[in-house]
């Protein structure tokens, strides 16, 4: 599974993109798995109300399924324009 991080999530985790070996069936389970692995993930995912999620480049939420998904992205609310 390819996992992307943007803005302060990227900074806290220390990378913008990584391959993650996981069998997590939902985004929430992936977050829990990463959080338990290392402190830097725990720091990034401490307040999930400030985190937005896209699965295969479609905006979704934390309960989204990862079945068949190739890419998950985590980022704060967008501030374009």
């Amino acid at each position: 599974m390819k996992v992307l991080y943007f803005a302060w999530l990227r900074e806290r985790i220390g990378t913008g993109s990584e391959e993650v070996e996981t069998n997590a069936s939902t985004v929430a389970k992936l977050v829990a798995e990463l959080t338990s692995r290392e402190d830097r993930y725990a720091a990034a995912f401490a307040d999930m109300s400030a985190v937005r999620v896209a699965v295969d480049q479609t905006m979704t939420d934390i309960d989204a399924s990862l079945t068949g998904a190739a890419e998950v992205a985590f980022f704060p609310p967008m501030t374009g324009g």
Binding site: A73, M78, G80, G81
Partner: protein, 151 residues
């Protein structure tokens, strides 16, 4: 109809010139240009870094343009958004809507900006005397976007 996501600056007259070069049925052109302000969250801002999601960004901007063209009768649209290192006074974003009449051009330009604020994958980091900080999304931007949902 086209979008560009680029490091380089843009020239508004030149962008309008390109849109109207091939036609004389445009009566109204509305542009919005966003500039880096020298203040943010009550702090002086000396620099801004704009992060984006390559590939996904273009797709999001094209989707916004397509929606605008479905809602209003437009002759031409254009979105240019910069990323990378910027400083106060620099141009960040340009939206253009061209129509036979001014009402549609004004509404479409404002619609595109409201959606861009909340739907385009950009993140701003400002440098202030207290250090660098990521700009928070504004509730006002969600409200501005939501009003287009009303019938």
């Amino acid at each position: 109809m086209s979008v560009s996501v680029q490091i380089e600056d843009f020239d508004i007259s030149q962008e309008i010139g390109t849109l109207k070069a091939v036609r004389t049925d445009i009566g109204a052109v509305v542009t919005f240009t966003g500039l880096v302000r020298d203040m943010g969250g009550g702090q002086p801002v000396s620099a801004m870094e704009l992060e984006h999601w390559p590939g996904m960004t273009e797709q999001a901007l094209e989707e916004i343009e397509t929606q605008a063209r479905q809602r209003w009768s437009l002759k031409a649209t254009r979105i240019v958004h910069r990323y990378g290192a910027l400083k106060p006074g620099d141009q960040i974003v340009l939206v253009i809507a061209a129509s036979p009449h001014r009402g549609a051009a004004f509404e479409a330009a404002e619609f595109m900006m409201d959606f861009l604020k909340t739907r385009a994958p950009f993140w701003k980091k400002e440098t202030t005397p207290q250090g660098a900080r990521w700009v928070d999304a504004r509730d006002a931007d969600d409200t501005a976007q939501a009003r287009w949902d009303q019938p």
